[in-house]
Amino acid sequence: MAELRLVGIKKVYDKDVVSVKDFNLEIRDKEFLVLVGPSGCGKSTTLRMIAGLEEITEGDLYIGDKRVNDVAPKDRDIAMVFQNYALYPHMDVYNNMAFGLKLRKFKKDEIKKRVDNAAKILGLEELLDRKPKALSGGQRQRVALGRAIVRDAEVFLMDEPLSNLDAKLRVQMRAEIQKLHARLQTTTVYVTHDQTEAMTMATRLVVMKDGIIQQVGEPKEVYDFPNNIFVGGFIGSPAMNFLNGKIEGNHFVMGDVKVEIPEGKLKTLRDQGYVGKDIVLGIRPEDIHDEPLYLKSSPETKFSAHIEVAELMGSEIVLYSKVDDQDFVARVDARFNATAGQTIDFAFNLSKAHFFDKETEERIK
């Protein structure tokens, strides 16, 4: 059993660089939690505080029921996988995995059993007597994982473990790590700045910015209901469109273009006094349609726009266009043959869209 609790955690590096603050989070047993956010937002710092590699300036860290702020890294029963693998260069694969067990005075045959088992899970059996230098990136990453597995630790920490791999291998290793987690069920905290990785791997994800948690939730929840403009823009690719406009009557107005707001959303906006005010509409590219059938059924959100660029992605086309001189991106079905230079009709699916306060950038709920 390994839940982690971070209570009011704050990290200040020397010369008052505040890199994490007000960090409150419960990490559940067996969970695959992903910390995601742009570079420098404090993901590694958070992970390193959990590992004990970085001192916690303020707040409490619990593993299970035990406060571990002052517990040495080696006594926290945590294994970590580093971005650049951190394999011991002078040891072969077997000894890289066995090192931690040797230091913990395990019996020789127990060590062998565990290393062989990890090697089997990771497909490293043939490579046990190789030095790290003689391994490919993917193999090195597997050894790094193996080193964590043999320890049978309560918690795995991974800091961007895939970012040194090429795109194809990354996708493959992503699946392998997920399989591994399904098999071992070890509580894992995984750091990445890649939102695709976060979306596909996480049981829950934590979106961070400037050392502050923006949102915690299951990937779908975060995707569908982003707390604020930052989260909406960060999660999802192509990114969510943000369009400035005004609420007039029951319409959202961008210059000459008017789209009708569905009843439920309109009520919320009215209740909170946004009528007549500047407001930001957030809509995902896939919620902007150009299929004739949709256009016909939703005349109230229809408008026409000029396509500036069209990128064919296979079954879909990503269209870059403008409404009221504001850029937007639409991801539409390739069957309808939209091409650059055309002016065509679009319609918003506003039931899936969100409105954000222009000042606070929070989603209006």
């Binding site: 590992a51 004990g52 890294p73 080696k74 970590m80 580093f82 971005q83 011991y88 260069p89 090192f99």
Partner: protein
């Protein structure tokens, strides 16, 4: 095209420099196989006219030589190895501490260490002599070993290496359960092997080749090192016998050669790793 020509030019240049360095060495070897007459007569004959092993057999085996050549060799090698081991051990710990651990005042200590590199030996020479004399340690192995072991060069060399040593490796080891000493001995030192070899070879050569200090620090024939011994021979038994002197000198270079051959691969690795040239 031009690239290939540059390469050829480079090889020629390198060979020329190599030859330049080798000339005295080759001359030494050549002379050691000449008889006394030919050795003194001079002339640029690279290949001895009357090739002879006599100089070697005489130097090594003759009863007529009453000086302890083998003891000198032993002294030099013993002092060289002992000094080298101490240097490597102390410097590795000092450099690691300064580069990676929370040593108090290290920001001041390190430059202080390094600044000692700028003090020429001739300045410390006399105080050093008086110190050992006061301690009654002249003419002992202690006098031949310890003055070399207080040298910041190794600290400087290793400091650079340890600074560049990946922090993640130490952190991974910490999570694996290693304490500071485990990390140093089982992770850092094995990775530093090429640099340590470099330092070891430099140190051994420095001690083995040194002349001035052993000359003043010792005063009985038994405590001489090979370099000081050769000097004695030059003025003693082997005066004007260049063939024999060169035979002795050739023998004296053999340990260095062996050490160099053993450590060559590591040495080159070490030099490229630390960026010293």
């Amino acid at each position: 095209m031009g690239n290939k020509r540059n390469k050829i030019l480079l090889v020629i240049l390198a060979s020329l420099i190599a030859v330049l360095f080798l000339i005295p060495l080759l001359w030494m070897i050549s002379t050691s196989f000449k008889n006394d007459y030919e050795a003194i007569a001079g002339g640029l004959n690279w290949f001895p006219k009357n090739f002879t092993w006599d100089n070697y057999t005489y130097t090594l085996l003759s009863q007529a030589i009453d000086v302890p050549i083998f003891k000198w060799m032993f002294n030099s090698i013993f002092v060289g190895i002992a000094g080298t081991l101490i240097i490597v051990a102390i410097d590795a710990m000092a450099a690691y501490g300064l580069a990676r651990l929370d040593v108090p005042f290290k920001k001041v200590l390190f430059p202080l260490f390094i600044s000692t590199l700028m003090i020429p030996f001739v300045i410390t020479f006399l105080p050093l002599y008086m110190q050992f004399s006061n301690l009654g340690l002249l003419n002992t192995y202690a006098a031949l070993i310890f003055p070399y072991t207080a040298n910041a060069f190794g600290v400087f060399l290793l400091y650079q290496f340890f600074r560049g040593f990946p922090k993640e490796l130490e952190e991974a080891a910490r999570l694996d359960g290693a304490n500071k000493w485990d990390i140093f001995i089982r992770i850092v030192i094995p990775s530093a092997r090429p640099v340590l070899w470099t330092l070891a070879i430099f140190s051994f050569m420095q001690i083995y080749n040194d002349f001035l200090w052993p000359l003043v620090a010792t005063n009985t024939p038994e405590m001489r090192t090979i370099t000081t011994g050769i000097a004695i021979m030059q003025q003693g038994s082997f005066v004007s016998s260049y063939g024999k002197l060169m035979a002795l000198t050739t023998i004296a270079t053999i340990p260095i050669l062996i050490i160099f051959l053993i450590g060559q691969k590591q040495l080159i690795k070490g030099i490229t790793q630390t960026g010293i040239k």
